[in-house]
């Protein structure tokens, strides 16, 4: 039974199922959607996922639209190396950190990313075109988020708070990886796949806070994941400069 995956760049939410499928050795039919051209809000895709969010995975009659639960499905459903610890305390820790990444760290990091990099690029297009595109977004919460991102409606306080949280989370993650080899503990897991998609570009976007001197454990953890064949294979799916950032993790790389 074919797996169809609708995704953008190997990055953040899209990268989570891509890297999980690659780690499991599952071949999939790749459907690349350009997030910045609003491909995910086109009628064709809304037939797959009426919420208009990416990624989405179709497996037989099942449609999956939440990226972190999707990773667990891939691990449960397919043969290949297990990506959840057998110890239930480690499994709980894996899930705890994935929630922390998804709901606390990632929203702050993405707010900075949108304000500094993605939003300005998107605003090259006419305002009316962007307004029309936002009006097509099915979910109210996503319309609000896209409006903020597209028209840079973040206040200084919001951006300062996001920067504070990113620094704080980076410190917490460094402390965690100083105590544990992997996110869950002793076992490489979905937690690391999730964290890598969130953090692979941290050394580039936060060079003053995430580097070999200040966060050696994060740097080593990112490099170890980058060196896995599945990560190399997954990041080849990238079509923009965004995915190129992963090469910063080559050992001996000097920016």
């Amino acid at each position: 039974m074919t797996v169809r995956l609708y995704h953008w760049e190997p990055n953040a939410n899209s990268g989570k199922p891509m890297l999980t499928l690659a780690e499991k050795g599952v071949k999939y039919e790749s459907h690349y959607l350009d997030l910045l051209k609003f491909d995910q809000h086109q009628p064709e895709y809304l037939k797959v996922n009426p919420d208009g969010t990416i990624p989405a995975m179709v497996h037989g009659s099942h449609v999956l639209t939440e990226s972190t639960p999707m990773m667990e499905y891939v691990d449960d459903e397919f043969l290949g190396p297990p990506l959840k610890p057998t110890d239930t305390k480690e499994r709980w820790r894996m899930r705890w950190w994935m929630r922390f990444f998804d709901s606390y760290f990632a929203p702050s990091l993405s707010m900075i990313g949108w304000a500094v990099f993605v939003g300005p690029a998107a605003r090259q297009r006419p305002r009316e075109e962007l307004e029309a595109a936002i009006a097509r977004i099915p979910l109210e919460s996503r319309r609000i988020a896209w409006r903020k991102a597209m028209f840079n409606e973040f206040s200084t306080e919001e951006l300062d708070e996001s920067r504070r949280r990113v620094r704080f989370c980076t410190g917490i993650l460094e402390g965690h990886l100083a105590r544990h080899e992997w996110i869950a503990g002793a076992t490489f897991s979905l937690g690391d796949i999730n964290g890598f998609n969130l953090g692979y570009a941290l050394p580039l976007s936060q060079p003053d806070h995430c580097n070999d001197a200040k966060t050696p454990h994060i740097m080593e953890w990112l490099r170890r994941i980058y060196e896995r064949p599945a990560a190399k294979e997954t990041w080849k799916h990238g079509r923009t400069a965004m995915a190129e950032r992963v090469k910063f993790l080559e050992r001996g790389h000097h920016a």
Binding site: D76, T88, K89, M111, A145
Partner: protein
């Protein structure tokens, strides 16, 4: 050794109580009075997971020296670890549905229910306390987001407009649950599971907080579903742990609403 740091059996605190009673597990109950802020002493900064979990106030489960936090992952841990009746969906896709439900309701109901309920029940009780003493306690609470959750209730942050928006936003998760129950009796597959325990604990207070959103006419399936779960012996046993006799009037600040709007 299994110890549950618990309080009035409602919302977040209710979930592990139900799961443990469903499992007929032996556990030590450690009562915390959240309005005396006893929970703040339980989650030291040295334990990142207990200190930084996003529901902030509790519950916590201590098992073999490890503090388990986050009420959904806690009941999943109970389901995966303890012997007794199965509470996990079996099929991979049903497990996905349970995880997706826990995530979606955790973000929506986990943020909206505490705002509406704390304004109604907790804020008046906080206002009657000595403000200087409350401030002194809150000033030392870390992380700061946890402090802000309590301060918002004291400072009148939740305007009528914010509360009206919160009630309006309840409709999306409630309608999704109502639709899911149209396709089957339980939220994640053919059997009662952790997804139902999770949803029940948050949904059961909405008829009081936003009666226009959950009621027998608008949401007949949810109304029947809540009654069906409430009749389970484990749920009755969990609710019977109340000390106030009014567990559905005890609330704590919950998950932070999305900062993206």
């Amino acid at each position: 050794m299994l110890e549950l740091y618990t309080s009035e059996p409602n919302t977040f605190f209710l979930k592990p109580l139900i799961a443990l009673h469903e499992k007929q597990a032996k556990f030590e109950s450690r009562w915390i009075d959240t309005e005396k802020f006893e929970q703040f002493a339980l989650s030291p900064a040295s334990d990142a997971e207990a200190h930084l979990h996003l529901e902030r106030e509790g519950p916590l489960l201590r098992h073999d020296g490890i503090l388990i936090s986050n009420s959904f992952f806690m009941i999943e841990y109970i389901a995966e670890t303890l012997p007794g009746p199965g509470l996990l969906p079996e099929a991979s896709f049903d497990k996905y549905r349970a995880h997706a439900s826990g995530q979606f309701l955790g973000a929506h109901l986990g943020a909206l229910v505490p705002i509406l309920s704390c304004v109604k029940y907790l804020a008046p009780r906080l206002a009657a306390m000595d403000r200087a003493k409350v401030d002194a306690t809150l000033n030392s609470v870390e992380p700061v987001e946890r402090r802000y959750g309590w301060r918002a209730l004291l400072d009148g942050t939740y305007t009528p407009q914010i509360l009206a928006t919160a009630r309006e936003r309840l409709k999306l998760p409630v309608q999704r649950v109502e639709a899911t129950l149209g396709a089957g009796a339980w939220l994640a597959g053919p059997n009662y599971s952790i997804a139902d325990i999770d949803a029940f604990a948050m949904l059961r207070v909405i008829p009081d907080l936003a009666p226009e959103v959950v009621n027998a006419r608008e949401t007949p399936r949810i109304t029947e579903y809540l009654a069906r779960i409430e009749a389970r012996p484990a749920v009755k046993a969990a609710l019977a742990t109340t000390r106030s006799g009014k567990p559905a009037e005890s609330f704590v600040p919950g998950v932070e609403p999305s900062r993206w709007g």
